[in-house]
Symmetry: C2
Subunit: 322 residues, 2 copies
């Protein structure tokens, strides 16, 4: 299926038509060839939104906390977008958003847009698809964009590490695995939340986290919440407001945004080049494969050779054309 | 610090010296320039090991299950390597392995090698570092290599999806998040385990998983375990043995191994090219940045232009040299 996006769609997008927004995001997600022109047209001089990232292990109650934070922001009169990052699947695909949304008391509220984003396809990977989608949401005019990820893997860390504020949500009773989780995630947290704080072990988890954060590069507040009952949510949002104001004042907000843009530019250029490289390597592999299988060569020697031939290929084309 | 690895080290490696193995892995992990030559020397005609991947959300008890599986394999007389994939951190870095190992009753057993691998650096990313390390472990002579990941992110999925058998471990009480976890992970599971099966909700979790697996491409057995007590571990290993024999018989093992090698070759070539590209883009960005900031250009137009200039650069050099 080829999605069209013409000048009329761009006008509709700029008028605030959510269907045009949804269509634009789908094109970016699918890596549509038209997406680049669309993004070039819609991402210049974009409005600025506040970006909040929510991450943490499965079962921590991130969706509930996200919904509660969004609710307070909507009550303030803000336009809010929720971007839910999902590991996608060929055979369970579409069901996820529904599952998450079912528990959202806020769905259907005006000035709210909820979008699920899968982790495959997407201009060459999850972390590459998120920045352009965020740019579209900013240009559309949202005041706050909350990006919620599932899991604590590298891809998720990449996604959230360039937002304005990162909330790491954990839960009592993770046992020794909290040690491992810490490692990847502690240094990116701006606000730490121990959710389901009515569960056994909540105080122990708070202490463990506060202890670990002592070794970190900066002060990070830790909050206990019971998101389902709304307990502690206002305190988390206050901390986020404070963090945002501090960053605005000291220039960190501008630095993070520039870093985000530069990263997206690098990723976009890399997706173009690596797409060409993959095709190039795939076409030449059959010639080299027998040597690798028989042990006469190895994948590193062969990989370097193909990479170098790829980088020099235009010379050969040029020479051949002469 | 520059690590040397000379012919004597290669001899030591081939004699079975674990310090030489550890040093070789460190070089690969650090992306040392010598690593390529080392790998070229050591990965040809490699022996074959059986590769088992263990993945699942934090708190599922993966480490305990990994240790119990390793124990049974060691009792059988096998040489076993455990590769623990960790999100790494500048400030908690080294502590993780210790934390995980503390609970391993098996540490210190002969014929066992345990290694933690961080997710940054590493020849350009976690999923790129794992295949060469696995090749080193194979060449060293391990019979079984168990790769355990933390988290359920894309990077983890990438790592485990080309091993011979994937065990997905989950736990009762993940709530709605199991829906999201399913999506990314159900299709890569060869064996599913509900650990901590003495917890409330275990039967419900088993039913949920069996229900979801019905929509999958193939039959996947689901086991209930209590890994801390060793309950169900033998059944999981039997299923893995059976899966391995089936794959051996029907050629799937060879296909998975070829896929793994091809993927590693692609990734290695990509790491070389993308390293050059990043330097290239970074050097030219200051010239383009004012246009992006002022809205005269955008990162996609600029990203494409730099990618195309990069791919054509040798032509220009060539022309210039004439």
């Amino acid at each position: 299926m080829h999605t069209h996006f013409n000048d009329e769609h761009i006008s509709a997008f700029l008028r605030g038509d959510m269907r045009a927004l949804a269509r634009a995001i789908s094109m970016v997600e699918a890596g549509d060839v038209q997406a680049e022109h669309l993004l070039a047209a819609l991402t210049r001089e974009g409005q600025r939104a506040r970006l909040i990232g929510i991450t943490g292990p499965p079962g921590a109650g991130k969706s509930t906390l996200t919904a509660k934070l969004a609710e307070v922001l909507l009550d303030r009169g803000e336009r809010v977008a929720l971007l839910l990052i999902d590991p996608s699947s060929p055979f369970t695909g579409g069901a996820i958003l529904g599952d998450r949304i079912r528990m959202h008391a806020i769905s259907g509220r005006p000035r709210l847009y909820i979008r699920s984003l899968g982790s495959r396809g997407s201009l060459g990977g999850l972390s590459r698809a998120v920045p352009p989608v965020v740019q579209l949401l900013e240009r559309f005019g949202f005041d706050t964009i909350i990006i919620e990820t599932v899991g604590t893997g590298q891809a998720e860390t990449d996604v959230v590490e360039t937002v304005d504020s990162v909330v790491v949500v954990t839960v009592p009773g993770l046992g020794d695995d909290i040690q491992a989780m810490k490692a990847g995630i502690f240094e990116i947290a701006d606000v730490f939340v121990v959710n389901k704080a009515d569960r056994e072990g909540a105080e122990h988890a708070m202490r463990q986290i506060e202890e670990a954060l002592k070794f970190g590069p900066r002060e990070v507040p830790v909050f206990a919440t019971i998101a389902t009952a709304g307990v502690g949510v206002a305190a988390v949002l206050n901390a986020l407001d404070e963090h945002y104001q501090t960053m605005l004042a000291d220039g960190e907000l501008t630095r993070r945004r520039e870093r985000r843009l530069r990263k997206a530019l690098h990723a976009y250029a890399a997706s173009i080049v690596s797409g060409h490289l993959a095709t190039w390597v795939e076409a030449r592999l059959p010639r080299h494969w027998p040597d690798i299988e028989s042990g006469r060569s190895d994948i590193y020697t062969c990989g370097r050779r193909l990479a170098e031939e790829f980088q020099a290929k235009d010379v050969k084309n040029h020479v051949r054309e002469d």
